[in-house]
Amino acid sequence: MFCTKKGYAVVRERCCAMEDEQTIVLEFTLKGSDFNAAGETSSKIKKVLQQIGVKSDIIRRIAISSYEAEMNVIIHAYQGKVRATIYPDRTELVVEDEGPGIADIGLAMQEGYSTAPDHVREMGFGAGMGLPNMARCSDKFDIQSAVEEGTKITMTIFHNA
């Protein structure tokens, strides 16, 4: 599929479609443990936001939220999907994975708590800051998780906050 929005050429690969005149939908798939591709999804979302002229401090919050969610899938899950829906006034990020799930979300939300394995920590991941960073950078944050099934994170960032 391809997608352009009135003169703005946006990401063509994987999937991206226009729901209506004013909405851009970007979808990406993620593979667990694929550290080579880590950050690419968030970079692409960031580039589209730059193309449509969203303010840089807002883009930064969206990029951080997206990156942390993306990394969680790569670190913990088998596979996942990222869907960024860009409206004129807000961006919604939905990051859903098939993975081990989170047994205690309250604990996982605490800064410094992490279940990341050592080889990932050696790369500087697994600081236990991902979920708190997402919650702080987004205006709306929701997390649903089922053990041995997966996790779904939904975040909204308003463009004029």
């Binding site: 950050g39 930064r60 951080i64 942390e68 990394m71 500087g124 991941f125």
Partner: protein, 113 residues
Amino acid sequence: MNVQDVVASLPVAVATGQQALTNPVTGGYASDLLSNVMGQAAAGNIWVTMQGHQNIAAVASLAGLAAIIIAGDVEPAPETLRKADSEGIVLLTTTLPVFEVVGRLYQLGIRGV
């Protein structure tokens, strides 16, 4: 203060991002924990780290950092150079240890957030 001023004052080598040396430096941050940098470093900060793997380029790009200084004579991985180059990230390397780099940045007037 911009990245060029730092390059002129510290014994660092410019590995990538020559074209972005005019990036203004708003402050400094030192950490090897990527999410800590993501959450705590401010846009335009210069980041001092011992991590040399490719994911630092994504962090710097997404967090809008002015430059990365890889300290302690750590050699960035070839993939790191490639990613930093394609993202237009300024990557500096130095044999100085982190403590020394931060001290010298502080002497230049660069402060933490």
